[in-house]
């Protein structure tokens, strides 16, 4: 039977769903939403530790932990894990970001028990087999080499180094070749022991099941996992630059990849919603309606890809304000100046009433697209828990947006954007040796 899980309201259509939130005695947070729109279940376990906690000399540690979780547990080999999940057409993946390690699984509803069992096994009992540690290091080194072929990736790395300076986010999450070399199996096991504890994990499960039936199974799978005292490394907040920083990296290519920006904001910043509207007007939105794509792409024809955003990278740590353009070498000055001009304009001049209203209609109207699939809802639940948005966020969000004024936009643009003291990174044929 199909259930209508969304309802219309005066503020536009938006999703409604009932979240069942439980905390097991060992501290594991469990969030469940029943949704029978497809005969499948999406599971998402987020361990609240990531590359931000990597020691500088061992950068890449958290990501390597995540990538070794499915390479062997106390009772299953790497191949047995792969065969178990693939033989039912399911998937199980682990990935690490700066702030969390996420193990996610997608299975048909009939295979939920298996999905849960594998998820628990990977989280609680990985063994980091020595031969896989060696393999994974080789693989990471090789992938870093491969990634360096992409000018946009190289530009992104250089940009982060200049923006974050000594803050942990200056590094790529996979680390550097020399830090990857240094990581040992003991490091991986110690990271797992320290952070993979139930009171540091959020488990969200969305799909075609009954929560009343599932909860005892979750208790059975995770109940024996002992709660531990948690300690996290501390580091100073990053500081926004007060001078211009620039880097030009020469690389034979068709285009220049230009990153321009500076330190941004964290997701819990109270001005986040005003900044989302500012992003929509300056560099995001639908099609090429925002100022930067409209001017630099649609009018001047400088680029296929150009955008700007400060909220896109906002997390527990402050993200970055990024304005990006990929353009032919002869356009370098025009493109860079074009980005700066639009940043300056939104700082100096108020946005029009119409721009603001359109941006509000866009954000509130398109909100529903973030909840279309069960895996999207599962990710949202973690997001809501980590950033303390509340599960009534779907009701509150349109109001947050509705209450922002044009003066708010100018205020936040002045507070969080800087058209003088920014970082500029240009990668490509900077000396004009187009190839």
């Amino acid at each position: 039977m199909r259930r209508r899980i969304l309802k219309p309201t005066d503020l536009g259509l938006r999703p409604t769903f009932e979240v069942r939130s439980e905390t097991l005695p060992n501290g594991l947070k469990v969030l469940m939403v029943e949704n029978s729109s497809v005969p499948a279940v999406s599971l998402n376990a987020s361990v609240m530790a990531g590359a931000r906690y990597d020691p500088e000399e061992k950068a890449g540690l958290a990501l390597m932990v995540s990538r070794l979780l499915d390479e062997g547990t106390e009772s299953r080999t790497s191949l047995e894990i792969a065969e178990a999940i693939e033989s039912v057409g399911g998937s199980i993946d682990a990935d690490g970001s700066f702030e969390r390690i996420v193990v996610s699984a997608g299975v048909l509803n009939k295979d939920l028990d298996l999905g849960l069992e594998l998820l628990a096994d990977l989280l609680m009992r990985p063994v980091f087999p020595p031969e896989y540690v060696i393999k994974e290091k080789e693989r990471t080194l090789s992938e870093i080499r491969s990634a360096k072929d992409r000018p946009q990736v190289v530009a992104g790395w250089a940009f982060n180094e200049l923006v974050y300076q000594d803050h942990p986010l200056h590094r790529p999450s996979h680390g550097y070749p020399e830090t990857v070399e240094r990581i040992t199996r003991d490091d991986l096991r110690a990271f797992h022991k320290q952070y993979f504890v139930p009171n540091n994990v959020i488990l969200s499960i969305v799909g075609d099941f009954r929560a009343a039936d599932l909860l005892p199974k979750i208790q059975k799978a995770f109940g024996s996992w002992p709660k531990e005292k948690l300690e996290f490394p501390t580091y100073p907040m990053p500081v926004r630059q007060t001078e211009k920083r620039q880097k030009f990296i020469n690389m034979p290519a068709q285009q220049l990849n230009i990153y321009l920006g500076h330190l941004g904001v964290s997701r819990t910043n109270p001005d986040y919603y005003a900044l989302q509207l500012m992003d929509t007007i300056l560099g995001g939105g639908a099609g090429f309606t925002a100022r930067i794509p409209q001017r630099l792409r649609d009018e001047l024809g400088l680029a296929y890809t150009t955008f700007a955003s400060i909220t896109m990278t906002a997390g527990i740590d402050p993200g970055r304000f990024i304005a990006f353009i990929g353009t032919s070498p002869e356009n370098q000055t025009l493109a860079t100046q074009g980005l700066v001009n639009e940043i300056r304009r939104i700082i100096e001049e108020p946005v029009t009433k119409e721009e603001l209203q359109d941006a509000k209609d866009y954000l509130t109207g398109s909100f529903v697209f973030a909840f279309e699939s069960i895996s999207q809802i599962a990710r949202f639940l973690v997001h809501a828990e980590v950033y303390e948005l509340g599960f009534d966020y779907v009701d509150k969000y349109p109001r947050y947006i509705r209450d922002i004024t044009a003066e708010d936009i100018t205020r936040v643009a002045r507070k969080y954007l800087d058209s003088e003291n920014y970082t500029l990174v240009v990668v490509g044929p900077v000396n004009g040796n187009d190839k």
């Binding site: 199909r2 259930r3 209508r4 969304l6 309802k7 219309p8 536009g12 259509l13 999703p15 729109s37 497809v38 005969p39 191949l79 065969e83 693939e86 033989s87 057409g89 399911g90 048909l108 393999k135 693989r139 080194l141 090789s142 080499r145 360096k148 072929d149 992409r150 000018p151 211009k244 620039q246 030009f248 990296i249 690389m251 034979p252 068709q254 285009q255 939105g285 639908a286 099609g287 309606t289 792409r297 009018e299 001047l300 400088l302 680029a303 296929y304 990929g326 353009t327 032919s328 359109d358 941006a359 209609d361 509130t364 109207g365 398109s366 529903v368 697209f369 909840f371 279309e372 900077v430």
Partner: protein, 438 residues
């Protein structure tokens, strides 16, 4: 073999197919799980319809369709999308050009007005055309800065000698540079007609009401004379072709393409299952051999998709460390030979079928994904293809896998493209220049 779930998860009986008097095919699929409606329009024109010296026209046209009509001025289509909190985009392939809007279901039908208007009334303003040409050229350059984008372009040009699948969808640079607004407009007139188009609407709406609305929006557009069929056929390949692309990278990459049949040919089903057995997931043969045991590659993939005309089966890989292309090629050919000589196990076959079926179910959650499936199959094949797809996959035997592996994935039928270093220095590490703050 264990039983598969339900062959009718994406039941085609839920899709209504209507043909208007002017030939427009309308596919509607109601589903009320989310308050969203996706509307897509598909034109049966892509780079396969382009003539020598005029490549990239279908794709350029896709860009021009956003540049306005008499009724919707430049920028207005995006602005309407913004004001209504929606999303829009478009894509062009070898076989088709498709446009979509995603809107909440209380405001979606403005999409019908836009699509019906730009089916017949696209403005071809010279200034807009020249400005957009620059954008298209930047898009073309972006793909050439990607190692795989570049290698695929060269591979397709090498694997096909006659058939237009040899040309990149975005076009060859010189053709794009020389394109004129008059030619572009003529191309539009030839292919953008109701009788060469498919409208797909999926999501939260009432079918009868919507069909009446569609009829009103599109019914008055007259049918055109049907564009002549593209009749070029690729002659048989008579031996291995090898090509080398020199590039700045130090990481060798390899792409092998085998000629393979068009959509719905009986051999396409075992070829799809074979692709999964070979390289989908960590339990697959090539992953186990090349990534796990030999550790010679960063990844290996096997891909085979549906196309209107005979197409290519691709195997791609990227060398790890100092491992050579020769070694990687030998492993790939060794695994193919192993399938031919020794077959695949019942467990492997079973696993591959489950993977294909589960993917078929799990990848159709969003209305946009549903609309893409319907539009693609109607434009290059038939809707029946979707209906019988899982059943056809289920019926494949191990003998069929060995048979298609032998007949298609053989030396004489392959084009091997290598991306190798041009000998330039590692520019990132050695030539970076810091310019101090002013």
């Amino acid at each position: 073999m264990s039983s598969l779930v339900s062959p009718s998860v994406f039941a085609i009986e839920e899709v209504r197919r209507t043909v208007l008097d002017n030939g427009l095919v309308v596919l509607t699929k109601e589903s009320h799980t989310s308050p969203i409606v996706t509307s897509m329009i598909w034109y049966k024109v892509g780079s396969r319809n382009e003539e020598l010296g005029h490549t990239g026209k279908s794709h350029f046209l896709e860009h021009m369709l956003f540049k306005g009509t008499d009724r919707f001025k430049k920028g207005e289509i995006d602005l309407i999308t913004l004001k209504n909190g929606g999303g829009n985009n478009a894509f062009t392939s070898h076989d088709f050009t498709a446009y979509y809007f995603n809107f909440a279901s209380d405001r979606w039908d403005v999409a019908l007005d836009i699509e019906s208007d730009r089916m017949a009334n696209c403005a071809f303003d010279l200034e807009e055309f020249e400005a957009e040409k620059k954008v298209v050229i930047e898009e073309l350059k972006t793909s050439l800065d990607s190692p795989w984008g570049l290698l695929m372009q060269e591979l397709e040009a090498g694997a096909f000698k006659v058939h237009p699948y040899r040309n990149p969808v975005v076009g060859w640079l010189q053709d794009v540079e020389r394109a004129t607004v008059e030619q572009q407009q003529a191309y539009y007139r030839r292919y953008y007609q109701p009788n060469n188009a498919i409208l797909v609407i999926a999501g939260d709406f009432q079918t009868d009401h919507v069909l009446a609305r569609v009829s009103k929006a599109f019914g008055s557009i007259p049918a055109g004379s049907p564009p002549s069929a593209m009749s070029l056929q690729e002659p048989p390949q008579r031996g291995e072709r090898r090509l080398i692309v020199r590039w700045r990278s130090k990481v060798p990459r390899l792409s092998i393409a085998y000629h393979a049949p068009a959509i719905a040919h009986p051999d396409t089903y075992p070829l799809q299952v074979l692709a999964v057995v070979l390289a989908e997931g960590k339990a697959s043969r090539m992953y186990q051999r090349m990534v796990e045991r030999e550790q010679s590659v960063n990844f290996v993939s096997a891909e085979f998709g549906e196309a209107k005309d005979p197409t290519l089966f691709h195997i791609r890989s990227e060398a790890r460390g100092e491992h050579s292309i020769d070694e990687i090629e030998a492993s790939i050919y060794g695994e193919l030979k192993n399938v031919i000589d020794n077959g695949v196990t019942p467990a492997e076959l079973d696993r591959a079928k489950h993977q294909i079926e589960a993917h078929f179910i799990l990848s159709r959650e969003r209305t946009l994904d549903q609309a893409i499936l319907l539009g693609q199959m109607e434009s290059i094949g038939t809707l029946d293809y979707i209906d019988s797809y899982v059943r056809n996959i289920q019926s494949i035997t191990a003998e069929q896998l060995a048979d298609v592996c032998n007949r298609y994935l053989n030396e004489n039928n392959r084009t091997v493209a290598l991306l190798l270093s041009d000998g330039s220095k590692d520019t990132v590490d050695s030539e970076e220049a810091d310019i101090e703050a002013d």
